[in-house]
Amino acid sequence: MIDNGLLVQMLLGALLGLSVYLPLAAGQLSLATPAFYAVGGTLAALLSTRWRALGATAGGGFPVPSLLLELLLGGLLAGVLALLVGRLVLRLRGIYLAIATIALVEIVRVAILNLPFTGGAIGIFSIPQPFSEASGYLLMALLLLALAGGLCHRLEAMPMGRAMAAIRDDELAAACMGIDTTRVKLTAFVLSAMVAGSSGALAAHFLNTWNARQGSFDVSVTTLAFVILGGSRTWLGPVLGGLLLTALPELLRPVGDVRLVLFGLVILLGPVLAPQGLITPALLERLGGAGREPASREDHP
């Protein structure tokens, strides 16, 4: 049964899919999303449980404006981290970049695990709740997704988005055509981090507890599966991938481990059977919807 709680998880999955999508849209295979997700979640968990001023009540409640603040801060902190690290990491190409982002995830995970104030292996629990029911979280998640999705949509029609697509096709040629590839890649990386950070902040409240395992290599794998299944040519793909792959295992109700076997199969078979994923630009054009803007000659005198 798809209840509100599952819907929230599906939307979080969609958001993480978008986070992985953004660097990929600029041709960068970054597996760093879990690191930023963890940073955002940890920040929210810490702030809400330690900072009285945010207004956590004795009964475990939490004011919504404070939640919004945390979403913002989570995104910002993740963004700042991405800015600092990205400058260094994005100099790397291909496999080196992928490995560096894996390393980043591990470093962040171990740091959160070992820092004295983050709760160790157990993590932080009893995170106050801004909503008494899942429907509240559902609304928040929808808002967040609308924002992130809207951003991605707008990006496609902007010079920045075109530059990202160009870099994806051929980074060297893009550089020779005057595109500051470092700046564009960094932008994608930072945006990706911000989406993940805000999602983490929301997730921390939704899940009620937060620990280092939320930002592990596992999450890199599952979010990658979202993008591979859904398709990476347009932002709708990872959204759909995230929704589907989060819902599917719950619907099938198997042993938890089969879920990961499923993800593994998607990642193993996806690139061969459906290299463009489920949502391809061709499909979108046929549906007459969110395809490219047609060029018109009315601009031409």
Partner: protein, 274 residues
Amino acid sequence: MSAAATASSAATAPLLEVQELSCRFGGLLALDRVSVAVQPGEIFGLIGPNGAGKTTLFNLISGLTPPSGGTVLWRGEAITALPPHRRNRLGLARTFQNLRLFDGLSVLENLLVALQPRSRNSSLDGLLGSARFHRAERLRRETAWQLLDELGLTALAEREAGTLAYGDRRRLEMARALATGPSLLLLDEPAAGLNPAEKEQLCALIQQLRQRHQLTVLIIEHHVPLLMRLCDRMAVLDFGRRIALGSPEQIRHDPRVIEAYLGSGPQGAGEATA
């Protein structure tokens, strides 16, 4: 080939100059202290047998490969440390021997992407869809259509670049380089795969483009007779070294050049063609 060009070259400073440029790949010295100066307005040819280092030279000029020695100068200023996109902003554009189009973008978008860096794009404007953004977009599109017109690609504007026929891809590659608004255009084997009639058209096109866009052209070509007709001056590379420099006539009769091309068949420098 014009007398005007050769006369003025003595008076003006070179647009592009490489001094003692070397490039080492592991144990291989791909370029060995090459010096060349390209004057504004001229069409300068670069020839040499396979593996002579011509494309390597282009890569060093455009900033894709760092030199192991020497300098690259643009209007007298050293640009050796500048990254490729900054060199492009200065006015240096190139095409690639193996055609590096943005295959997933449409023909029009390939040009739009190249036009973008020419104007200050505030992402905020783009995000909000402000009037300034729309104005800039409209201007870009106008310029793009003009270029498409000029290179006969108008009918293909909406097609995905990866689906184009070879000849069209070549022209798109050139259109895209032109879209960046260069003063110097580096052409890497633009005639590869073209039949003689198409080669003629290319020749005429390059001369037209030079005229209309006030270009200086540096061109690598295997088909030497083409360059003989087209170029004001030429340089010959062999094994990474410059072995000759001068007018096509001078090059044609240079014994070192003839020797370097020995055995390369009907494309040898020794052949005189109309």
